[in-house]
């Protein structure tokens, strides 16, 4: 084992988590308060990853993937773009924890993704390419400026592979959207999406209630209680008047 490898390892561990001292456990249960950190709550506020132009495009995109209807808001009001913004700024955006060593060779589909791009780079490049594509084919308009039907048309062409980008895999970007946008709609609101638990209310998911012993034997009856998130529920902590 070479000293160099040790240094890389140490750097990797420190970068990942603060809990990485190796400990010797003898004659005791190693109990320390909060060794596993509580989740960080995403707060509203300025964009952290997206530029203003990118954010405008993303808000338009998430509202086409999950469009608003009379009963339930769409992706934009649900906070899906905010969710993706915070995810791309964080460990997800930098592919933390993934195996990133080369060579990066394209294999079969069943061998899994081999791209050298991080998720953050994928979004950055694809949003730039999308902007360029829309402006050159739609009389100078950006994606966000198009009518809904025209936006759907562009997205459908990304999905089918009809539109390709020069710098980045357009279809791969669309698959990422199909994964990330619903995550923002259905993940716990502490992550910045699913605002007011709209995604959960839409389907009748009670969130993190954690105890259904009184309900498991009530067959074919609809569970009546509204959802609860990790941060609780708005009506549990009423705003001070």
């Amino acid at each position: 084992m070479q000293r160099r490898t040790f240094l890389t390892l140490a750097a990797w561990l420190v970068g990942t988590t603060s809990l990485t001292r190796a400990t010797v456990i003898h004659n005791r249960v190693p109990w320390a308060p909060h060794p596993n950190s509580a989740p960080e709550m995403v707060r509203p506020g300025p964009w952290q990853f997206f530029t203003l132009d990118e954010a405008r495009a993303m808000e338009a995109i998430v509202d086409r993937i999950i469009p608003p209807d009379p009963e339930t808001p769409g992706g934009k009001i649900a906070g899906c773009a905010v969710f993706i913004d915070r995810q791309l700024k964080g460990p997800y955006g930098s592919n933390q924890g993934h195996y990133t060593l080369g060579p990066h060779t394209k294999g079969t589909q069943e061998q899994g993704p081999q791209s050298a791009l991080t998720h953050a780079e994928l979004y950055r490049n694809a949003l730039a390419a999308l902007d360029k594509h829309c402006k050159s084919t739609q009389a100078g308009k950006s994606f966000a400026e198009l009518e809904a039907a025209a936006q759907d048309d562009v997205l459908r062409k990304l999905e089918s592979g009809e539109v390709k980008f020069e710098t980045v895999d357009a279809k791969g970007f669309f698959s990422a959207l199909l994964k990330d946008v619903p995550e923002g709609f259905f993940a716990d609101p502490i992550h910045g999406g699913n605002i007011d638990m709209v995604g959960w209310k839409m389907i009748g998911f009670p969130g993190i209630r954690y105890d259904y012993r009184d309900w498991v034997n009530r067959h074919n009856e609809r569970y009546p209680h509204p959802p609860v998130s990790i941060a609780g529920r708005a009506d549990w902590t009423p705003a001070k008047s």
Binding site: R21, Y99, Q111, G112, M202, Y210, W215, V216, N220, Y223
Partner: protein
């Protein structure tokens, strides 16, 4: 230079299910031992408190409790002529990391294998003739029988507080249990869990079709329980954040909730966490292990000398450590020689997703636990006549309502667009009235000459060690088996009154991106012939007798059940052999 630590009687590599069980048994025998674990120590109270344990994004989607591929991963290819590429983020399976191992975030489906599974080659050859088996299939007998393992299965089920209904007590078939199971000495320690609506419908439909449905044996507690080591578990609340998550209620059997609390109180037990074993050291004869070398979180290298080495690092890491340490002859599929890496297998699972009339059916899919379920076993192992079908193997099938977590489980009828208004409407309409069983068809994968693991020539891990290379594909036998089972499974949902049943068959080529199970098996298999097995029937290395290798790496092929009941029974069986035979006379327990 590695710094040398004081000698111990035993060093245990990996503190998951098997490592914890073995550590307890050997500490109980009075041996001075140390367990070295790659990941962090984990506690229920501090690591998954109910207040935030139920975070689908964090644990299910981002896999926080698991090994990260940047620590180590595998390369994968279908056949020897293909180039293997690294698995950059997990897909088909997801290796654990940290004290408790997979026991922290498993479903706790706690099965025993069939008596015939242990003598598979002999049994199938006698029943169907040797020509019935595909030519390149390399299945073997285990060298241990169901009857020998029965007391050890029993011990694990009582350790875990398994909830279930016995099907066969000492040869008497019990109503409501699995009539195909091998005879057991006594009933499960706890009654089955309560079954939600969909399970009740599944049970009725299966009975109407002439099957004998039974509740799946589950390590989720149906009531409060105190195990034989004096450790208490609480009742499961059907929270639906079970598999992939730690249980914040102390209700799921795991090393933390069953054995570690008793183990850490033993003065002759020591553990080291955040420390990864990089090799097993052997003396100049190559026939005796002298201990292990490991690297701690600061990057410092240590040597831990010991008289006895127990490798319990999970299937594929066991094999990796054997290959990197040069213990046993590496398997060569071309020459068909060598044993380490041979008979590697995974699983052949599939599912059917069923859509019911939303006006008539409300399933409350979020009322769920990792292992709660109604199953049938008519099509597992050799429980049915394979003669007319032209394949061997099988699996159990069941409706196991494991989760209604909405990122993972919002099924829509096939043909629905993947986004937009139509998708949104379909999600909303079907969430409460669709069934996507957590388990589905849980089928065997038998072993073949060209399915194996070895060391990758190109890709390295963060220690600059070669990654393990997996060469694997499904063979015709498994594809036929899966089609037959999936069709049978779909009939039950049709009989439950589904308006649409969508079958998701398992197909070739094997796809590393689609999760199946983390039930990897083989690679360092047990047997009675050292030219075709790495370990003898006591899981003792044929080459290095003071080395025992625990886990599903010992399975010569995978049966159609979840492995952990058998993995744990084998750990108790080995512990018993060490205590009653090896310690009295350290050396080879079997003369080949």
């Amino acid at each position: 230079m590695a710094r040398k630590l004081p000698r111990k009687d035993v060093v245990i590599v990996g503190l998951g299910w098997t490592g914890s069980i073995m550590a307890y048994e050997l500490a109980d025998a009075g041996l001075d031992l140390i367990a070295i674990e790659r990941g962090p120590w984990r506690n229920t109270a501090t690591d998954y408190p109910p207040g935030y344990a139920a975070d689908e994004l964090r644990y299910r989607i981002r896999h926080e409790l698991f090994l990260s591929p940047s620590q180590t991963t595998f390369t994968f290819r279908h056949k020897m002529s293909e180039a293997a590429l690294p698995i950059r983020s997990w897909g088909a399976f997801m290796p654990p990391n940290g004290v408790g191992g997979g026991g922290v975030h498993w479903n706790a489906e706690t099965w025993r294998f069939l008596p015939s599974d242990f003598v598979l080659k002999t049994h199938l050859t006698e029943r169907y003739g040797v020509n019935f088996l595909p030519e390149d299939m390399t299945i073997q007998d285990w060298g241990v029988t169901y009857d020998e393992l029965e007391p050890h299965y029993d011990k694990f089920e009582y350790l875990c507080g398994t909830s279930g209904q016995a099907g066969n007590i000492k040869g008497t078939i019990m109503d409501g249990g699995n009539p195909f199971e091998g005879p057991r000495a006594r009933a499960y320690p706890n009654p089955p869990q309560d079954q939600p609506f969909g399970h009740a419908l599944f049970g009725k439909a299966a009975r109407d079709l002439g099957y004998k449905p039974f509740p799946q044996p589950s390590g989720n507690m149906s009531r409060p329980y105190q195990n034989p080591l004096g450790v208490r578990l609480g009742p499961c609340t059907y929270c639906g954040f079970c598999e992939w998550f730690g249980c914040g209620n102390y209700s799921k059997a795991s090393p933390q909730t069953t054995v570690l609390p008793a183990l850490v109180r033993k003065p002759n037990f020591t553990a080291r966490d955040n420390s990864e074993v990089t090799r097993i050291n052997v003396d100049s004869s190559g026939k005796r292990a002298t201990g292990v070398t490991f690297v701690d979180a600061a990057g410092d290298e240590w040597e831990q000398p010991a008289d006895l080495v127990v490798l319990s690092a999970y299937t594929i890491f066991n094999v990796q450590l054997l290959l990197l340490s040069g213990i046993g002859k590496a398997y060569d599929p071309a020459a068909n020689t060598g044993v380490i890496g041979r008979n590697f297998t995974h699983q052949t699972t599939s599912d059917v997703v069923s859509f019911f009339d939303p006006a008539k059916f409300v399933f409350n899919p979020f009322i769920a636990s990792g292992a709660i379920g109604m199953c049938i076993d008519e099509f597992n192992g050799d429980n049915f006549d394979h003669g007319p079908h032209g394949f061997v193997g099988g699996g159990y099938m069941g409706h196991v309502q494991t989760n209604g977590r909405p990122i993972e489980t919002t099924p829509v009828p096939p043909g629905t667009p993947l986004w937009g208004a139509a998708w949104k409407k379909a999600v909303k309409e079907n969430y409460q009235s669709a069934i996507k069983p957590g388990t589905g068809v849980h089928g065997s994968m038998y072993s073949y000459r060209d399915v194996y693991v070895d060391l990758d020539p190109a890709y390295k891990d963060r220690f600059n060690r070669p990654l393990v290379r997996i060469t694997m594909d499904f063979h015709d036998n498994e594809i036929k088996q899966n089609k037959f089972l999936t069709d049978k499974f779909a009939e039950i949902f049709q009989a439950m009154g589904a308006k649409q049943v969508h079958k998701e068959y398992r197909k070739a080529p094997y796809d590393i991106t689609k999760y199946q199970t983390t039930h990897l098996c083989g690679g360092a298999i047990m047997g009675s012939d050292p030219t075709t097995s790495a370990l003898n029937r006591f899981l003792q290395s044929w080459d290095v007798p003071n080395l025992f290798v625990l886990g599903a790496s010992a399975f010569p092929q995978n049966a159609g059940y979840n492995p952990t009941g058998t993995v744990a029974a084998l750990a108790y069986w080995t512990a018993d052999a060490i205590r009653s035979k090896y310690l009295k006379n350290p050396g080879q327990l079997i003369n080949a």
